[in-house]
Assembly symmetry: C2
Homo-oligomer: 479 residues x 2
């Protein structure tokens, strides 16, 4: 961790938390040890009491410490230490045409099959979503606005919805106006349209490595080339590496997921976001910011979108409700900055409109309140779920397995011992009724042959525990 | 008409109807004249009684004749003759990059504005749609399948929906299986994905001229070139012209709307469809068939998709429920033939999934019956509406105006006197609260400067009549 905190300036409470983490990792603090009291630490670290409290809440949400009433904070006991984290990725420095092909369809198809445990899909289980309330809003809208609801909702999309999203953008620390947004069929369409708006076929787009396979597919479909940039498991895109790449070659756009990226789960520090936006603004290069996981932070504060630093209109901010409310409603948005008119027209050409009723239902849900309450509960559940799966991996997977420590979202990036072929593991797991996402689909260079991505969107259950045990023993048999 | 019937072999009843139409056009049959009895005509034309009856129903649906009970069929009286039809289009024979730009957004944006009479948008008014029944199905599905309904419905899309569409394909005379289909966000997305699947940036796609502006936008977005082929106002794409073009240059795909094309309303005769498919199969060129208006035939039979002649898997058939059931539900499909896997993957990359609940609602609506009954009533209303608007144009528009005689769909293509600038008319009409679609957006070559497209999707009303009168006098002032 030490090397990270040197390279990236983080929030104060995160710095305090990281120092405690280092103490635990080095053995200075051991399982069962009592942590300093809040007042002690506040004095020794020269930070406020509330900063220390934030740091403790943060460490607790990661499952590293526990609070004992009337007694204090203790390092959590565990049977064996948590596995280590993967290293910074080292993709080749050349731009590649993309082709990850048919493997991808095997991963997403497993989502619809109830016999298969979908650890491969990035989505929250319906049990974690306000299903009934949303459907009720939809039913109400179908009755009260029936003619509007059956009709096209032409781009840029329903004004009241854009007002609701604009209102939320204040909480993100990135105030936008309703007219800044174009509604889309989920964030995927938003990213797709953004790529269309800023790049021409043959152009190169710089992305994180590993990167979401859907984005790689979109890049391939549009005849673009992907330039994979080394990425840090906690802090995302390595900016020095990006800068070096930009100095060497022409890049039409940079596409990143700064908050809880897919699959790394990394979260770019605020300072990096600012540096990234400034670096690109100086070169006139558009930044496509996929913020689909932004609302799923485990820590107390939502990360500010990089868009907050955009003074040139060069950042296209993409988001949706697919990971927080209703994957099947297909409602997302893009705030495309200076590319607004172009994106709106492309949206019309590509799929005309956003589904009207689902959009009205989500608008009503946002208007009537309860989204923030829902988010708090969802985040708590995902944080605990992520932690349990990390622990299970530590117990059940082969020696030498490494796994990320995401501070938000619902994904884990698992590095298996070098001998384990993720594609073979994927096949065997599917045969055993378990879907995972094999590493090679996250790279245009087909790297990550011994990595898998696992989703933690499903609540803990004996069935899930069994699946993890099966997966672990399959991996061990390959190691 | 004579020249057309020579060039294109039509159905028997259509041939009989065309001969009667010619007799009316030439003055052999005049307003108020009694037509031959069914038995007489059956004998003189050497066709069955039922063929004559079909011809008479057809002429009546076009508003050319009327039935007087106990008396027979008569040529309808009208105050002035209907306007003539436009000629076959004559686009330049070179492929063009597309850019019809910002005008398009002014046309679609007017749809959402209740103060504007949307004669520019191609959609049926909610009054003509089974709004309540659909919303009720949706409400039921939200209750009964709540967890499924909130989740992604991953490509290729809900099996039961694909079964329902496959069942309907039997009635189209083009039997397809559920596994032939990939569900999409409307037919626009289907066409967009099909283009992606068969053409690479820089490729040329042959299209009708005039062509739907959304398709032109999609062609532009993908970096393709549009080759506009002369098209006949009744029979669509001119196949000799297409063949000549294919002999001269490399074409990656042909994209047509054989049934009630947008904006011409033309319907390709069965023989032309077969010739088209064979011509392309011999050259290995894919055909993208946009069949979105196929269910809206005014005559007794639904035109068979060209796909029915596809033996090579080279036809990608696109359709949706947007023009017949629910524009705002965003449910369409593509049967991509040999490009099936590719299209499915592209669909995933572009927008992941189709909105789940709207899809479930339409599936239930199809399963419970009533779609065919609804279609019969919708077609009757659109046929009568189209006829009334044609008559109104004859009365209210400047001398020399020409207008198409579509046999299905809801669109009219109006040729104004050469002096009338459609862009100026569009501006003035908008200022008067009326939206029309100006001709130049239907051509990559910015032709059709004195044409407009008008939608007949709204039931006759004093407000609509007033709008047509205003439009007529605006056009006259420009002529």
């Amino acid at each position: 961790m030490r090397q990270m905190s040197a390279a990236h300036t983080s929030k104060l409470y995160e710095q305090v938390a990281e120092r405690l983490e280092e103490a635990m990792a080095s053995g200075t603090l051991r399982a069962g040890d009592r942590l300093p009291s809040v007042r002690q630490l506040s004095a020794s670290e020269r930070v406020s009491v509330s900063t220390v409290l934030q740091a403790y809440v943060h460490l607790e949400s990661m499952g590293l410490i526990e609070t004992r009433p009337q007694s204090g904070h203790y390092v959590r006991r565990r049977e064996r230490p948590l596995p280590g984290e993967p290293q910074v990725s080292q993709p080749a420095a050349s731009a590649s045409p993309v082709s990850v092909g048919a493997l991808v369809s095997r991963v997403y198809r497993a989502v619809g099959d109830p016999r298969i445990i979908p650890l491969g899909a990035s989505l929250p289980s319906p049990e974690l979503l306000p299903v009934r309330r949303l459907h009720r809003e939809l039913t109400l809208q179908a009755r009260e606005a029936s003619d509007v609801a059956i009709d096209y909702d032409m781009p840029p999309g329903c004004l009241e919805m854009r007002q609701q999203v604009a209102r939320r953008s204040l909480d993100w620390g990135c105030p936008l106006a309703p007219e800044d947004f174009v509604m889309t069929c989920g964030a995927s369409e938003a990213v797709h349209l953004s790529l269309f708006a800023v790049a021409r076929p043959g152009d190169t787009v710089a992305i994180e490595s590993p990167a979401y396979y859907g984005t790689l597919q979109a890049i391939e479909a549009q005849g673009l080339r992907a330039l994979e940039i080394p990425s840090h498991p906690r802090h995302g895109l390595e900016l020095d590496a990006l800068e070096a790449a930009l100095n060497k070659r022409k890049v039409a756009a940079v596409l990143v997921v700064p908050s809880f990226s897919n699959p790394l789960g990394s979260c770019m520090p605020e300072e990096n976001r600012q540096r990234l936006v400034e670096m690109l603004a100086a070169r006139g290069i558009p930044l496509i910011e996929d913020d689909i996981y932004g609302d799923l932070h485990f820590g107390p504060e939502r990360p500010r979108p990089a868009k907050a630093h955009d003074t040139e209109g060069l950042v296209l901010l993409c988001g949706s409700f697919s990971k927080t409310l209703a994957p099947g409603y297909r409602v997302g948005w893009v705030a495309p900055g200076r590319f607004r008119e172009k994106v709106e027209l492309l949206k019309f050409a590509q799929s005309v409109a956003v589904p009207t009723l689902p959009q009205l239902a989500i608008t009503a849900f946002l208007r009537n309140g309860g989204y923030d309450r829902h988010l708090r509960s969802l985040r708590r559940q995902l944080a605990s779920q992520v932690q349990r799966v990390v622990e299970a991996i530590g117990e059940l997977f082969p020696e030498g397995t490494r796994v990320t420590r995401p501070q938000g979202g619902l994904l884990l990036w698992v590095e298996l011992p070098r001998k384990v072929d993720a594609l073979v593991l994927h096949e065997r797991a599917l045969a055993a009724g378990i879907s995972i996402a094999p590493g090679p689909i996250f790279s245009a260079q087909k790297r990550y042959g011994n990595f898998i991505r696992m989703s933690c969107g499903f609540p803990w259950s004996p069935r899930l525990e069994g699946a993890l045990a099966t997966l672990g023993s399959l991996a061990r048999s390959l190691a």
